[in-house]
């Protein structure tokens, strides 16, 4: 089964193709195909995990060329090791639960078949991402999960908020992917391969080190920042809650957003080679975790609280992995790697459960606002119990799964005091906001009577998956019990097994922190000893910051979105008026130049020609009168000429007087001839 593990992603792909092209019109058949094939993928994943346990995590690699003969070979392949096997199982379990749950949640939806097709496509992409053996392939599936996330967030696209959220998610994560692409380019150029193992060999052998390695690591981490909704690109995840709730559970809580964490874990060798890159990872994780937890404290939308909680928990994992890298780069091992991946697994279960529970609540009361809920425990037994289990788990209460994984995360901050303090603070906030949510939703008096009256427990198809996930939220963490010597930490590890062993002091501290968080929520929202409103007024600035999500959306709108949209208009004006204006100006000048030439041609060139003709004709017109045919006139000219010649011989001055007189006489006689009426008809016509 292990060597055929590449089939696991292909089952849901087959489901997608079948539904889109063949069974779209038969709704029940479509959902049956989708669920059947994802269950098949789940069964196959179980076999893979068993086989992997049998070989103690010894990896398997298979690959086939995609495009060879480029400067590097691009290939598609699979790399199965312990981490892959665990992730395959997590993804298929959550996906199966969510698809079954959707049977109840999405009933009567007009785009039912399409919904299941999209879920199948998502599952295919996510499994492909997990199974990839190189950065090229992971990037392909990385983008495909982005696409399916876009399609599913905007599934109810008639709502403007939903289509906005889908677009925002796609573009924001793509900004992170810019960095990912540059990271891949750096690896291509400086390492010459994108295969994980070949790159890691270069790192461990020291061929790849220093600034290049740090740059590659940080740029690749940008991809994780986008996908895992880390600061400063975390803004898309809360908005993504516009999608159907099962989608939020699957994609925006348990699997896709965990892809960033998976990427960091997968490329651990890369980060572990550079303390700088790892430190960046750890700090981003810590900032994110703190910011998100602080925002979750005051939100009123049940899904958004869970979304910020997700961001915060992902930050936890990223931080643990980063701290592991820092420690590793400095030459010592820590629990961080195991903590991050372990929490990735346990979080998937209890967070999926929380979302599905929230979905069950929303299904019952048709609102997301916890101010309109209250007292629902009386109507929804299973939902309430499972939701409390998940909340206790995420808060880190002994002996639920969240306790063990969170404990390891706290342990991994050993040696980094600032990280440890903030981590504990976040743990406190987590316990507080989760139980604020629980108490406001399920206990007390119903605040909206009408909604409460119509509330009812969800159908079996929805409570069934809740129960399965509740079971996992309790027990999944037990594979990593610190007393187990052949537990999670000796299966999924980086470089060499690091078994931390139980830290009783830390366990006690973190339990105290969690319990005090729950206790504070209890006094405020259950006992109502302290007024929440009074607290909000007391810490007005902090409350406003938290309630308005630290104004990230507003700031981004002002410094990024508006300037870009403004620049598009400026450039469009520039293009239409300056660049094209220049072209049109050249055209216009050519036309004007032609006009000028035409004027010159008509009036100067042609004018000269016509003018000469005119002159000739005018001259000849005048001269023709001399040719009168009168012998007397000719004799007069001859005599006049003779006299003139004689006079010239005698005196020059006299000659001139004579000549002038002659011309006057000639002109006068000409004038007389021209004015004679019988000559009018022969006037010259110079127009011709």
């Amino acid at each position: 089964m292990l060597e055929y593990a590449y089939l696991i992603p292909l089952y849901p792909l087959l489901a997608f193709v079948l539904i889109i092209f063949f069974t779209r019109w038969k709704e029940r058949l479509s959902s049956a195909i989708a669920i059947l094939l994802v269950l098949l993928a789940f069964v196959h994943s179980v076999f893979v995990l068993v086989a992997m346990l049998g070989r103690h995590g010894a990896p398997v690699e298979l690959s086939t060329p995609f495009i060879d003969h480029l400067i590097i070979k691009l290939e598609l392949g699979m790399w199965i090791d312990a981490l892959t096997a665990v992730m395959l199982l997590v993804v298929t379990i959550v996906s199966s639960c969510v698809q079954i749950y959707s049977l109840g949640y999405m009933h009567n939806d007009p785009r039912w078949s399409r919904y299941f097709a999209y879920l199948s496509l998502f599952t295919f992409s996510m499994l492909g991402l997990v199974i990839a053996n190189n950065f090229f392939m992971i990037f392909i599936f990385w983008e495909l999960v982005g696409l399916t996330s876009y399609l599913l967030i905007g599934f109810w696209f008639e709502k403007k908020t939903a289509s906005d959220a889908g677009k925002k998610a796609f573009i924001t994560t793509r900004i992170g992917d810019l960095g990912f692409i540059v990271g891949i380019l750096i690896l291509t150029f400086y390492v010459g391969t994108l295969n994980y193992q070949e790159i890691f060999e270069k790192v461990t052998s020291g061929t790849l080190s220093g600034g290049i390695l740090a740059a590659a690591g940080i740029f690749i981490f940008c991809g994780a920042i986008g996908k895992s909704a880390q600061f400063p690109l975390h803004v898309w995840l809360p908005d993504a809650m516009e999608g159907p709730t099962p989608v939020s559970a699957l994609i925006h809580a348990a699997t896709m957003v965990a892809a960033g964490v998976y990427l960091v874990a997968r490329a651990m060798t890369l980060f572990a080679g550079s303390a700088t890159a790892s430190m960046v990872v750890a700090v981003i994780g810590l900032i994110t975790s703190f910011l998100a937890a602080s925002i979750a404290l005051t939100q009123n939308d049940i899904k958004r609280i869970l979304a910020y909680s997700t961001v915060s928990q992902l930050g936890y994992m990223i931080m643990a992995l980063g701290l592991y890298g820092v420690d590793y780069a400095h030459g010592h091992h820590s629990a961080g790697y195991v903590a991050g991946t372990f929490h990735l697994m346990t979080h998937a279960f209890f967070k999926a459960l929380l979302f599905l529970g929230a979905g069950s609540v929303i299904h019952a009361v048709h609102t997301n606002d916890i101010n309109d809920m209250g007292g629902l425990s009386r109507k929804m037994k299973t939902t309430t119990i499972t939701f409390f289990i998940a909340s206790l788990s995420i808060a880190g209460i002994f002996p639920l799964s969240g306790f063990w994984s969170k404990d390891e995360i706290v342990a991994s901050t050993a040696g980094h005091p600032v990280f440890m303090v903030v981590t504990l603070l976040i743990a406190f906030m987590t316990a507080f906001y989760m139980f604020r949510l629980c108490f406001l939703t399920f206990t007390g008096e119903p605040r909206d009577k009408e909604r409460f009256e119509h509330a009812h427990e969800s159908p079996k198809s929805m409570t069934g998956p809740l129960t399965v996930l509740a079971f996992l939220s309790v027990f999944a963490g037990w594979v990593g019990l610190p007393w187990l010597h052949r537990g999670f930490s000796s299966f999924v590890y980086h470089d060499q097994v690091h078994h931390a062993g139980p830290h009783y002091i830390l366990m006690i501290i973190s339990t105290m922190v969690a319990v005090s968080g729950i206790g504070l929520a209890y006094t405020i929202y259950y006992k109502k000893v302290i007024s929440a409103d009074a607290l909000a007024r007391r810490f007005k600035v902090l409350y406003k910051l938290s309630f308005n999500k630290w104004y990230f959306d507003e700031i981004y709108d002002a410094i990024i979105i508006r300037p870009i949209l403004g620049s598009t208009r400026v450039l469009w004006w520039f293009d239409a008026n300056v660049v094209d204006g220049l072209v049109n100006l050249i055209g216009w000048l050519t036309v004007k130049w032609a006009d000028l030439k035409m004027w010159f041609d008509r009036y100067i060139i042609d004018g000269t020609v016509n003018g000469l003709g005119y002159l000739c004709m005018a001259g000849s017109w005048m001269v023709k009168f001399i040719q009168s045919g009168s012998v007397q006139f000719y004799t007069l000219v001859v005599i006049g000429g003779a006299i003139g010649a004689v006079l010239y011989r005698v005196t020059e001055v006299g000659f001139y007087f004579y000549l002038i007189g002659l011309i006057i006489v000639a002109l006068l006689s000409l004038l007389v001839k021209m004015t004679r009426p019988d000559r009018v008809g022969t006037e010259p016509n110079i127009e011709g």
């Binding site: 003969h69 495909l144 810019l178 692409i181 598009t568």
Partner: protein, 495 residues
């Protein structure tokens, strides 16, 4: 049968042109089917050619299917000389496919049908000829032959500003052609014995002096850059694309733009290696400007067709960036992939815009909203092509952009890193467009009467969708076709 295979794909459409001239003017269906047949056969041959080339010749860098050189105009040594290699074969197939699909898409033309299809077939002859000609004079003739039918196709069957757009397109291209002609004359008179044979010139032209090389390169570049179009020579494109009828926009974007980049790959780069290396950075910079600038201007568009037109400017920028990285087979292969992929995707987008315009009689993005409710198939296909255009993996646009990036990164670190920004900007304007047209509230009163795509319309975009996905999923056949030729090209430029 190979003896005249290239001539047959060039001149079959011309034969169709002549046949149509003799058909009765009012028998629309006869004219349409004759035109389809005379473009269908060259398409089949061009597909067979790519298959045959892949099987038989893909390892060889030499020209194959050679015809000639036959004496043609012996006074100037012009010859009839055709041939194809790994660069031209994919483009011939693209031309064959898009011409046929465009003719199918033109079945709804009712005005002066006979002239329309006659001009269309003449256009196809010109395009096929450009991709096969190996003699400079012949190349120039085909290059110009294609202009005339294009001028009339835009000017007669176009939109409201058709006269302006047609004359702008014609004059702009002609303006570039003059530069090409000068360069051709320089090459002719400096070669000894005087020749117009491109293959010979590729061998001898590098012997020209440095400044003469730069001069010829720059003059040819202007001619080709206008066609691509490279920023800032691009403003004829939005006007021509928007005013042209749908099928003509498809040909403009799908094939004509590629003639510019084809000219660079076939002529400028191997003929003037020194100049190519000299101008590498400016060329890449022009590519970067086009990518970012085109994307930003696209984002500001209110007219759907203009948005697609400006996206072409942006997408052809990737080709220029890759051409700047002359030393990398990967980059040049990326350039070729981008040419093919852009032809498929943008051709399809124009067809889709045409389908919408036929029904709604407007292309204003703001006029729509929520069409996804009413037109699921149209929406699905449009989203598919938008995703392909923004470079989503699994489709051809991703492969080409990725190859361009990894190829160019070895030559230009910063320019390539900045060019990656184009990926987000493209996503920005494509998704905005998708959202404003297909998502949101559906206006039942206004668009309730819109009909879903009919079978003919689905059939004309389906091959494009299938090929886009096929190349995206399994690109290696296409890359194998062009591999040897491009390796040879890189060696020629490195001389």
């Amino acid at each position: 049968m190979y003896d005249y295979v290239l001539s047959s794909i060039i001149f079959l459409p011309l034969a169709g042109f002549l046949v149509i001239l003799f058909l009765p003017k009012n028998n629309f269906n006869l004219i349409r089917w004759v035109a389809s047949i005379f473009s269908f056969v060259p398409m089949v041959i061009s597909f067979y050619l790519i298959y045959d080339y892949f099987i038989v010749y893909s390892g060889s860098a030499d020209m194959v299917y050679i015809e000639g050189p036959f004496k043609w105009i012996s006074v100037i040594n012009a010859e009839y000389f055709l041939g194809a290699d790994g660069i031209s074969v994919p483009l011939l197939a693209l031309t064959g496919l898009l011409s046929f699909l465009s003719i199918i898409a033109s079945f709804n033309i009712v005005n002066r049908v006979k002239e329309y299809f006659a001009f269309f077939l003449l256009l196809e002859t010109g395009m096929m000829g450009v991709f096969c000609a190996l003699d400079f004079f012949l190349f120039y003739v085909f290059w110009e032959v294609m202009l005339v039918p294009m001028y009339f196709l835009i000017g007669v069957w176009g939109g409201p500003r058709k006269e302006y757009a047609a004359i702008k397109f014609f004059l702009y291209t002609l303006f570039g052609s003059i530069f090409m002609l000068v360069a051709i004359l320089v090459l002719y008179f400096t070669s000894e014995p005087h020749t117009l044979n491109m293959l010979t010139l590729i061998q001898t032209a590098p012997g020209l002096g440095h400044s003469l090389q730069l001069f010829c390169f720059a003059f040819l570049f202007v001619a080709f850059a206008i066609k691509v179009p490279v920023w800032p020579f691009h403003t004829w494109l939005p006007d021509a694309h928007v005013e042209a009828p749908t099928a003509v926009s498809v040909i403009l974007a799908g094939v004509l733009l590629k003639m510019g980049t084809y000219g660079m790959l076939r002529i400028s780069w191997p003929m003037f290696p020194e100049a190519t290396r000299f101008f590498a950075i400016p060329v890449a910079l022009l590519g970067l400007i086009a990518i970012i600038y085109g994307a930003l201007v696209s984002m500001a568009q209110k007219d759907l067709k203009k948005l697609v037109a400006y996206s072409s400017v942006s997408h052809m920028g990737y080709c220029m960036l890759a051409l700047g990285a002359w030393g990398s087979v990967t980059a040049l292969a990326g350039c070729m992939f981008q040419m093919v992929s852009h032809g498929l995707i943008t051709g399809a987008l124009f067809l889709m815009v045409g389908v919408l315009y036929d029904r709604a009689h407007t292309r204003e993005i703001a006029a729509f909203g929520g069409l996804g409710v009413k037109l699921p198939i149209f929406t699905g296909l449009m989203v598919l092509f938008s995703m392909a255009s923004l470079g989503l993996p699994g489709m051809s646009g991703f492969i080409s952009e990725f190859m361009v990036f990894i190829g160019s990164f070895s030559s230009f670190k910063l320019i390539t890193a900045l060019a990656v920004l184009g990926v987000v900007l493209t996503a920005g304007y494509m998704l905005r467009m998708v959202q404003r047209i297909f998502l949101g509230e559906f206006n039942m009163a206004k668009w309730g009467g819109l009909a879903e795509m009919n079978a003919r319309e689905i059939l004309m975009v389906a091959p494009l969708a299938a090929l886009t996905v096929a190349i995206g999923v399994y690109p290696s056949p296409l890359s194998n076709v062009m591999k040897a030729t491009l390796e040879n090209l890189v060696n020629l430029v490195a001389r």
